[in-house]
Amino acid sequence: MSTIRERIDSAMLHPELRAEGDPDAIIRDGRRLDHAEGTSKPLRPAPEPQPRGAKVRGNRPIDQQEAAARFIAATEHEKMHDERLWDLRQKRDREMHGIPEWEELRSLASAIKEHTLTHLDEYLDQFEANARSNGIHVHWARDAAEHNQIVHGILRDHGATSLIKSKSMLTEECGFRHYMASVGIEVIETDLGERIQQLDNEDPSHVVVPAVHKLRTDVAEVFAHTIGTDPGNSDVHYLAEAQREATRPLILNADAGMTGANFVVAETGTFVVCTNEGNADLSANVPKLHIASIGIEKIIPRLEHLAVFVRLLSRSALGSPMTQYTSHFRGPRAGGEMHVVLVDNGRSERLGLEEFWTSLKCIRCGACMNTCPVYRRSGGLSYGATYSGPIGLIIDPTFNARKYSNLPFASSLNGSCTNVCPVKINIHEQIYAWRRVLVNQHEVPLVKKAAMKAAGALLSRPAAYRAAIAAADTALAHLPRFVIYNGLNAWGKHREVPHPPKQTFHSWYHANRGAKR
């Protein structure tokens, strides 16, 4: 099999001669040639351009709706995204039906996490003591900045300038890659989805499948610009193989490796990393130096508890019984060095929120995203935050109430997320609770507040209410104002308005049963 380089060298046309979006054309002097039997325009439609995520403007509230609308308008992307994630939800259901004790496992997982969180300091202490006695260096970082500085310090001490890493949402939270770039350290993502996103300068859109929003044609375009693949070839096996071959030398020559962790076991000082590619194990076992960035909420008490979580994680996330690799790190290998950075970054504060602390149970499986009908149709990038989908709605406001004040309203409160959550977080109830909090903190538009006040006043006064809906035509004018703040337009933009009947129920009752009174 020829290498990518050979294939490009032997191509008949230099890639620069090809028109953007029309890989087949021959261009001379800026003109598309169409002599002989050549067509005057490309007949194969150009691939649908990838819809980009929410527009982020400093601290202004993210307009999730706007980004969702663009995603829905990209019909091929939306269809693939929705169907792929619904398929993951169905695979999850299939796994669930094969495990008679499924609901018991969920209850156990929830109970183990709640117990641990209510004794978090003790278990972290225990983990640190055991990890240290096995030769692991343990660091503590109060926030994202401190995490980045600590990791930088470790790398600097070892003269490391290149770092391979596996997927870690915590490092996304910390803006890690951006920081490393600013201090001149090359970071290479090794997870295929994360690598695609890194090469495309775009955030991951899903906690488990980071590039789920991309069509193969999007990936072909990214790889063509970055690792030199054929822009006209969007065969998935070709693209995956190209990335494997391009990344392998980077892995072999990296100075250091970084992973996250899915679980931490206090009893033995172990952290556990689950992947399907084995890229975490490459990152950890090829370079001498292994750094693990771990959120303090990942801890569980004992090995026996691990069984519950490992049985639930991959089944919930992907509908697969187990990840291809489930690796337990308890200490450095001979001649190697292992560091763990325990990160708070707002978690201890969230522990003190009476209605929301149980969100810390989250094991980042993504099942809530897969089942969420809003997420599937909006794409994870529409939320403009590290964490998207249902779990994002309830933890993002703790990072920035203003910027993420719209997110808890991007939900129909259907409750499917709560039912698929392996650790039984009452996600939809917390979304509902956040709405109250944000209203009380005045993080909602004044127009909406005014409309709601007016609605509350009208609906509590029977005579005024009766007058408002007495006539069928005024009913349509008044009623929607109870639930909207920008007029009938919003309801009627993409659907027909209800047909006003001849008389209200109240009028009918008065006419037909009034004598009873």
Binding site: E78, P373, V444, P498, T504, F505
Partner: protein, 247 residues
């Protein structure tokens, strides 16, 4: 038993026949049904958007209207879910707690309280897609949601299968949200309508002539979507079928 009939604002204004069917159905079983004249709303539109303080007066009015009944029955699952599970903008006196505990949605009232085992007057020889609103399904536990590994049950199917001639179709996504979601339907209008289009297309491709639901709000949204994209479905509330509506 004294029953208080609660007809929420949007049924009052847009679907009075659902209120009429509910009233007539309860009367068929020989019950004394009152309709307090000063009722308006349960407070859900404000509460749903986080404006809990703004719905206090409305909730207080609800309690004043419905205090003293043995049961408060309503053909609206989302409203009943709000009353039973969220109604906390006002002080939780004994009177408030009583009213909340005695408020039932029609299907659960017929199934669990009256334990109706026949609807001899009802005949509906059509293919129907059953839509359980998320509020009744996951909130009021009308039926088993597909996410859970528990024994199957469905109160609406139990009732509807006693209707002569009815035939159920099987959509691909039986309990995916249709996108109404209360204020979501206008705040996230693009996603809401896309969900609605997908829902009606799913039922249509499964062969449904009618979509039946215990929630008119979902029906209102789905009908608006179906009409906009030209999917020829008809929409009917479960109360109408159980009361003997022919079409």
């Amino acid at each position: 038993m004294r029953i208080g009939l609660f007809i929420p604002c949007y049924i009052d204004a847009f679907f009075p026949k659902v209120g009429i069917a509910t009233l007539e159905l309860l009367e068929r079983f020989g019950h004394d049904v009152d309709y307090p004249r000063d009722q308006t709303c349960c407070g859900q539109p404000m509460a749903n958007s986080g404006f809990n303080a703004e719905c206090a007066d409305t909730e207080a009015l609800f309690v004043r209207n419905f205090s003293g009944f043995d049961y408060v029955v309503s053909p609206s699952g989302s409203c009943v879910h709000h009353v039973r599970d969220n109604f906390d903008a006002i002080e939780q006196t004994d009177e408030v707690k009583e009213v909340r505990a005695r408020t039932f949605e029609l299907v659960e009232f017929l199934h669990d309280i009256l334990k109706v085992d026949a609807f001899p007057w009802a005949r509906f020889p059509h293919r129907v897609g059953l839509h359980n609103s998320c509020g009744t399904l996951r909130g009021l536990k009308h039926a088993l949601p597909s996410e859970l590994h528990e024994p199957f049950f469905s109160k609406p199917i139990d009732l509807l299968s006693k209707v002569d001639g009815i035939e159920f179709v099987r959509p691909a996504r039986p309990d995916e949200c249709c996108g109404f979601g209360g204020t979501f339907s206008v705040f996230e209008e693009v996603v809401s309508t896309k969900m609605g289009y997908d829902k009606v297309r799913d039922h249509a491709q499964a062969g449904a002539e009618y979509i039946v639901s215990a929630d008119s709000s979902c029906l209102m949204h789905q009908q608006g979507c179906a009409e906009r994209i030209g999917v020829p479905l008809k929409f009917i509330h479960i109360a109408e079928i159980l009361n003997g509506a022919s079409a």
